[in-house]
Symmetry: C2
Subunit: 294 residues, 2 copies
Amino acid sequence: MRWAEFIAVDWGTTNRRAYRIGNHGNCLDEFEDDRGILSMSKGEFAGAVADIRVRLGDLPLLLAGMVGSRSGWVEAPYVECPAGLDELAAQLTWVEDGGAAIVPGLSIVGDTHADVMRGEEVQIFGALAAGLIPANSFVCHPGTHNKWIGIEAGRIVDFRTVMTGELFNLLRERGVLADLIGDDAWPGDAFRAGVRRGLGDCTLTAELFTVRARVLLGQLERGNAASYTSGLLIGADVRLGLDLARGSQPIVMGRPELTHLYAAAIAEAGQSAREVVGETAFLAGAVAIAGRIE
Amino acid sequence: MRWAEFIAVDWGTTNRRAYRIGNHGNCLDEFEDDRGILSMSKGEFAGAVADIRVRLGDLPLLLAGMVGSRSGWVEAPYVECPAGLDELAAQLTWVEDGGAAIVPGLSIVGDTHADVMRGEEVQIFGALAAGLIPANSFVCHPGTHNKWIGIEAGRIVDFRTVMTGELFNLLRERGVLADLIGDDAWPGDAFRAGVRRGLGDCTLTAELFTVRARVLLGQLERGNAASYTSGLLIGADVRLGLDLARGSQPIVMGRPELTHLYAAAIAEAGQSAREVVGETAFLAGAVAIAGRIE
């Protein structure tokens, strides 16, 4: 039974975004709220799912992201890479007697590197299906956890997670930098100075403390501390990513306010990066998966 | 007026330790509690100081640590390095009409590096005065913020702060590693494996995420995750420190549970490190400063 209309949900750690998708793959209605998986206990998911249908219609649901993790509604086991859209669509975890499907995450299980992904894979396969990125690509997907993703022949062959966004958020909430870096980061001079430092061979835990020292000693303006710190973390992240890229030009996909920062950091490293809006890619990915449901 | 008996307080961000010191430099009484500077507002310091006298006696007070920072009781301006015990004792900030003195912090103000220290300097000059470390030394002082400290002819000439302890604590409180790394770290196999990884040319924000991935994929036992993560952070810290040491054998000074971890990490890097108990050094430092009050 192939779905006509359905609801696709990008359900992450801190937020969820839900879209009602029409039978031509068009978005008919949508909402976003802060009911990410960390905001609810196991027993609250059934109600949170019912609430989505109240708001967008009594339709089948395709759920992606951390909702399928051990801390989510129902665990959807990882599919091991290399993996493409077909493997993903074939290994959905069905709940509610077929009324809802959870997209599996992807894993890398190697001797030297192990990694996991949940949610970004839908955007990647959507971007491939919609022709937004070529079948052989190297994608940077910033977010709470940035991912550098290697794609060959339309399949994800390797990826690497960097906790850049999470660390920046932790530092803003508590500790000695919290009162200095509450502003939004923007890609100006202070950001680029941080990026240059992060791109070098540096110890992040040491560089982070210099932010406080330099503000106290009058070497860094307080209003620039957030941008400098963001630049430092993103610079170290981009250093790793460009090393993994081995010369490919990265494509940066995700929320525009983050892709702008990463593109600016990649430019500071002397390369250029095309940006793709993650939401567009997610909708294309949800439609591509739903189209493969038998 | 030289003090006979007095009270010395090591007043940090999260804790304070107060000692009543007799006229032979011996410790007569002491207590420790969690009334660090972050636990109180500006207006509460006078009362918190009065409480120390209620508990240990109506005596002059020598206060060291974050109590002299901008967020503390009264700001005691930094003394710029190179600096020795004489500069430190000559630049006390007096409060309560001479009833209490706050030890200044130290700063490094360079073009390529800026840094600040508050509290560790008393231990360093105490250890020097008591002959616990030689006049030319390279000291590692772990804590919320680890310091690598270069000492020449009994003066602190350079230092570098690494936010290892603070970052470990932030990661334990919130975020994707929090539920995995609540245990105490101990210097066993998992710790040493983390150290080896941290000693290499790695991106900490990427390595940290592998802890979660490896636990989820069954490659790392949950019970070892805290030790591995601690090893990773301390390994990266030691990599920087041994680079700064330029071949000197480091001396690790501080709380024994932390100096053991750093000594184990330094051993994993193929060097050996002598450990000095920070509390002993602090008492010697307080006595040395009090002895210089005119």
